[in-house]
């Protein structure tokens, strides 16, 4: 098992252009290993479920095949359901954090992409 950086999170980079890609969405996951930069792992052509209502909902998800789950699990720790707020109610007051990769701070090096 390789060690992970503290801020290591999965980065999904869907290309949501159905006309260009015929509904098949190329997606990569950025895995960051100790002592190295992000390495992009292709998930291949998977068809995500996309819920899009520009006012309220804009999210997609896909179910990973077991083979990919195992491969990514070598680098990543998947979130467990008990780490998700599952209550249907307005969010509680308190401190919140956003954790992500803003486009402003991100540049993709195609050389790091897996063949």
């Amino acid at each position: 098992m390789k060690e992970l950086h503290g801020l290591d999170v999965a980065v999904l980079q869907p290309v949501l252009n159905d006309q260009q890609h015929g509904g098949i969405v190329p997606i990569t996951v950025g895995v960051v290993v100790e002592g190295g930069g992000p390495r992009l792992v292709s998930l291949g052509g998977l068809s995500p479920r996309i819920s899009r209502d520009r006012d309220h909902v804009d999210v997609g998800f896909l179910r990973l095949p077991q083979k990919l789950t195992t491969a990514i699990g070598e680098f990543k720790t998947f979130l467990r359901l008990d780490q998700v707020d599952l209550e249907h109610r307005p969010p509680e007051q308190g401190w919140y954090s956003i954790l992500g990769f803003p486009r402003e701070l991100s540049r993709i090096n195609a050389d790091q992409r897996e063949p």
Partner: protein
């Protein structure tokens, strides 16, 4: 590729297209954002950070009992989908995302319902009902 981690709080002014029970909005104004080290920080111009995790680090009750807080209290509260200038960011509540996943994956419903039942019926420390 540089990660961004900033701490803030719920945005409570009125927002267009904010639906209670579906949306979550966080303040992204200068006075409210904290860096990873806890210092005040001018928010960066994100230019899009769609899909980033919105994490609840602590509730007000946690803050009143800091000695009992530990990282196990952290929960994924939502997934961001909109940056509203330097005012707020908006996302979809995690509850709704999980509901969508359950609807499209019936074989996962039993597991999801089990965890949902735990949070609603057995009062895990982080899950507390709030009067709306």
């Amino acid at each position: 590729m540089e990660p961004l981690c900033q701490h803030t709080f719920l945005y409570e002014e009125e927002l267009d297209h904010f639906e209670i029970g579906t949306s979550i909005a966080l303040s992204f104004a200068e006075h409210g954002v904290r860096s990873e080290s806890g210092e005040g920080q001018r928010p960066v111009a994100l230019q899009g950070v769609s899909g980033c995790g919105i994490w609840r680090i602590s509730t007000e009750q946690d803050l009143a009992h800091e000695d009992t807080w530990d990282p196990s209290h952290i929960r994924l509260a939502g997934i961001e989908h909109s940056v509203l200038g330097r005012k707020a960011i908006k996302g979809l509540l995690a509850f709704q995302l999980i509901s969508d996943i359950r609807r499209h994956n019936p074989d996962l419903a039993t597991t999801i319902n089990l965890y949902r039942g735990r949070s609603e019926n057995h009062g895990l420390p982080i899950f507390r009902s709030r009067q709306v």
